[in-house]
Point group: C2
Chain length 209, copies 2
């Protein structure tokens, strides 16, 4: 029988997710053996270790049956996925920040530029708030933007706020609370409901304990 294919993101969420899967009876420790290896056989599960933004892509296309990914990435990607469980791991906040020593005056009508890895989320936030701004998409080191004059503000995730403080930035708004979710391909759930349903139930019981 084909294994259930599970897409997990590299990094901190991988370790925390493996701990929950272990409590649900699925030992994923094999994924921590060889960090260059991206496909691992773990009993009934085949685990793909991916960049977090690629997890929804694999699940949406059915190349993975299920996956674990932060709600920040899910909201940004906007895929039609079944999202049965909040795993309560990878908690952080999506925030707006600016320089502590150079506050942007909303009333001055000057041109506001916001750098982010999350252009769709940022655009939706600006529309909700009625703020006019240019959104500049970056792929890394967002906190460098205001320091180099690229932008006045950033939208990014933060856990402790430490990176923001080290770069002389202050939070001015919170857009969303972020945590990692279990996502499932809706078509695969219909075709293989018994096994995927059992996995979801086992994870739900593990979380309740």
């Amino acid at each position: 029988m084909r294994p259930i294919i599970l897409a997990l993101p590299k990094g901190r969420i991988l370790e925390e997710a493996a701990e929950i899967f272990a409590r649900a009876g699925h030992d994923l420790s094999v994924v921590f053996g060889d960090s260059r290896r991206l496909v691992h056989e773990a009993g009934q599960l085949r685990v793909l270790v991916l960049r977090n933004s690629d997890v929804p892509t694999y699940v949406a296309h059915g190349a993975a049956d299920a996956g674990v990914v932060g709600s920040d990435v899910l909201d940004e990607e906007g895929r039609e996925l079944y999202e049965p469980l909040d795993l309560g791991i990878g908690r952080c906040r999506m925030i707006v920040a600016e320089r502590a020593d150079q506050r942007f005056d909303d009333r001055a009508q000057s041109h506001l530029r916001i750098a982010t890895k999350y252009p769709r989320t940022t655009r939706a936030y600006l529309d909700r708030k009625g703020i006019t701004a240019e959104v500049i998409e970056l792929s890394g080191a967002i906190e460098l933007g205001p320091l180099t004059g690229l932008c006045e503000r950033i939208v990014d995730i933060t856990q402790t706020g430490e990176t923001l403080r080290q770069n002389g930035l202050v939070e001015i708004d919170t857009i969303a609370q972020v945590s990692a979710r279990l996502v499932v391909n809706p078509a695969r759930l219909k075709l293989d409901g018994d096994r995927l349903g059992a996995l979801i139930d086992a994870l739900e019981r593990a979380l309740a304990r």
Copy 2:
């Protein structure tokens, strides 16, 4: 006087670019001191060390006067930048590949899916060739796509072809030869033509030696 602000990409091109700048009279060795530091003062230059896809963004917005970045990223980003020099470093090829053990038959009219980090470049290539395909954007580990059934082909850069071979993939077409370019913000070049012109000239002489 404000330093000339130079955006360089992390990784292999950073080292090769520093070697060319050294021959042009600009010692950038300070950038190799602390890998967490992203802003470095190197004589007349201030160096920002960025993700490669962020280099055109910083130069286009004038947060950097000039930058070094691969032609793969430049072609994909499609920014209006002055591109005075091919530095001849970071050489690789943009290729199309598929599984050696599962060749895709163009004539079979089946649905072709191509995974890539370069969706614009891939779309332009497909349009030129008159190929109908779905383009799936990934952010990492593109070579995993065909192995997991996500896609039939990939478009990616390769230097030696070793990663492709290790993953059982074969090249079926070359889209472009890639190398790193010096890019300059056109408005900054007009405003600060003497200093930026001198930098370009010094780099050109270093390359000619």
